[in-house]
Amino acid sequence: MSQTVVLGVIGSDAHVVGITILEQAFSAAGFDVVNLGVQTSQEEFAEEAVDHDAEAVLVSSLYGHAEQDCQGFHEVLAESDVDAVTYIGGNLAVGQDEFDQTRRTFRELGFDRVFDSETDPEDAIEALREDLQITPTESERATISS
């Protein structure tokens, strides 16, 4: 059974390139991807996660306002009974914060994993497979090791 991933850019952010690449990467890796696109509200993430019975909710943000946009996000998800793994990635803070500090901030907000903007899509896919305990098929394993 393929697993469903809900993907979107949160808040007023209109940066679409990264999420387009993630959509392609997760689809190619065998996930069912629901791409909510840019400028997605917390409520839209929750609704779509419920509608599609998503196993994972992946949040992208590049314009530096992620912390403000994600306040209360996990409460919104909980209210809708969303039980999904949550990741966030991108340029998550304005300025020169150490990434360890940024990671701590977003872990405290409730995200299971936090990625910086240099992360390869493959790393996120591998992490998700681990978190959802999916074993790659033989053919995919061959691709990965080649």
Partner: protein, 477 residues
């Protein structure tokens, strides 16, 4: 049903009165009085005339700050120290969202604290008089640059305020800028903007209109950009605009960029009515810049070199601080001077590069395919054709955030760094053209010893900021 038809005079008046009540400064707009003001301006401030009569590419930066005095000072600096030929006034983001109250708060805060609390010049809040103080103070033509899906009030105020050039268009200020504004809605809004520009034009004040060529600024295949430029030019021409500057954003491959600018000029003249004067503008690289001023100057210089060969009518320059966001005025002027140095050194050389004609021919064939599909989708009407072609995916823009475009087409560079189409989705293109792209991408895949995949797209998006043109795999190839 909205069609490519001129807005009737009574309808123009009705919309004009309606939108001018959106903010208090709208009441100060008086068309007849505005015509007199424009007539009083000296020739050197007449945007269309200056641009169309230039004998080499004119340079223009981007720049906008909230306070009027600061905007005047910045404009003068860029004109004098940066030797900018044409001056921009970049509008703030609240105004682009029609949030004039928020822009007012930002402007008042800027006046109190002296900080730049807005990311541009809130022209609606400054009103007709504020705009004219700027026009009077700066000794060069000035253009409004923004990103506003509904720019009707901004146009009414800035035209009356003395601006004679206005960037944007219904597709180019929708598809790359917003998720939710419907394309039909933005086309209708921009028909008014163009009609207003047409009304001034009929009174002898030619307002120059400039569709935004770079679109999403990320590896946009030239033919897609050119087709959209032609459509926006046609829509503007229908409303009476007679000076149109079609745009194109640098992709970084010199042959493809020169070929694209040649094709843009040729097809623009061919598709637009004879009474329209068509000019072209080349935008220096709009994607991610290197996080290093020296390397950024390299990117800017390659843009200058390309401009020297293709000779567009105008070049929009970048600053070496592009990576960090809004540049200082010194950095902005330095981007202008770097570009000028390269253009002036290169422009008198005769530089022949193999392959430009062949590439231009391919771009023209692709553009004609897209224009044909728009024409067919609309049964001859360009508005309906554009709406339906975007809807069916026959027309598409890569990385488009808007719900009005599929955003399913994906570009990748070929082995020579030219932008090709890797994922066609439903883009309506002849099969033999698709085969050419496929073969070129396959050649790159062979060189790199990997399969064609979205991975190439991702690598290409980052390549220039990482110091290369093509996103090759890490390590030796």
């Amino acid at each position: 049903m909205i069609r490519d038809e001129r807005i009737p005079a009574d309808e123009l008046r009705r919309i004009d009165e309606e939108i001018r009540s959106d903010w208090e400064t709208g009441a100060d707009v008086d068309f007849e009085e505005a015509i007199e003001y424009h007539e009083s301006l000296p020739d050197r401030k007449r945007f269309a005339d200056v641009l169309e009569s230039a004998d080499k590419p004119l340079l223009q930066p981007r720049a906008g700050v909230p306070r009027l005095d600061d905007q005047i000072e910045l404009s003068k600096y860029l004109h004098e120290e940066g030797q900018a030929d044409l001056i921009p006034t970049t509008i703030d983001s609240y105004t682009r969202d029609n949030e004039y109250e928020k822009a007012q708060q930002g402007l008042e805060k800027a006046r109190e604290t002296g900080d730049d609390t807005l990311n541009g010049f809130p022209a609606v809040n400054h009103g007709v008089d504020g705009c004219r103080k700027l026009i009077d103070a700066v000794d060069a033509p000035i253009e409004v640059r923004h990103g506003t899906p509904d720019a009707r009030l901004l146009a009414a105020i800035t035209f009356a305020g003395g601006f004679q050039s206005f960037e944007g268009g219904p597709i180019s200020y929708n598809i790359p800028y917003t998720k939710r504004h419907g394309l039909e809605e933005t086309i209708e809004r921009w028909q008014f903007v163009d009609r207003l520009a047409g009304a001034y034009t009929e009174r002898g004040i030619r307002i120059n209109r400039e569709p935004f060529g770079p679109l999403t600024g990320t590896l946009v295949p030239p033919s897609i950009a050119i087709a959209i430029m032609i459509v926006e030019g046609q829509l503007a021409a229908t409303q009476g605009v007679r000076s149109i500057t079609l745009g194109y954003g640098q992709v970084g491959n010199v042959v493809q960029d020169v070929a694209a600018l040649n094709a843009l000029k040729k097809l623009g003249n061919e598709y637009l009515p004879d009474e329209v004067v068509v000019t072209t503008v080349f935008h220096e690289w709009m994607g991610g810049f290197p996080p290093d001023e020296a390397r950024a100057n390299g990117v800017i210089s390659l843009g200058g070199m390309t401009a020297a060969i293709a000779q567009p009518d105008k070049v929009i320059t970048k600053s070496p601080q592009e990576f960090q966001g809004v540049p200082t005025k010194e950095a902005n002027a330095s981007g202008l001077r770097t570009t000028r140095q390269v253009i002036d050194m290169a422009i008198e050389q005769k530089i022949d590069i193999d392959g430009i004609e062949e590439e231009q021919d391919l771009i023209e064939r692709e553009t004609r395919c897209l224009m044909d599909t728009i024409f067919t989708h609309g049964d001859g009407d360009v508005v309906q054709g554009t709406l339906k072609a975007f809807d069916s995916g026959a027309l598409d823009v890569p990385f488009a955030p808007s719900d009005s475009a599929r955003g399913a087409v994906l570009p990748a560079r070929d082995d020579d760094g030219r932008v090709r189409i890797f994922e066609w989705a439903d883009l309506d293109m002849d099969d033999d053209i698709k085969e050419i792209h496929k073969a070129r991408l396959s050649q790159r895949a062979d060189t790199e010893g990997r399969k064609q995949s979205f991975r190439m797209v991702a690598d290409d998006v980052d390549a220039i900021s990482d110091g290369k043109l093509i996103g090759r795999p890490q390590g030796d190839v």
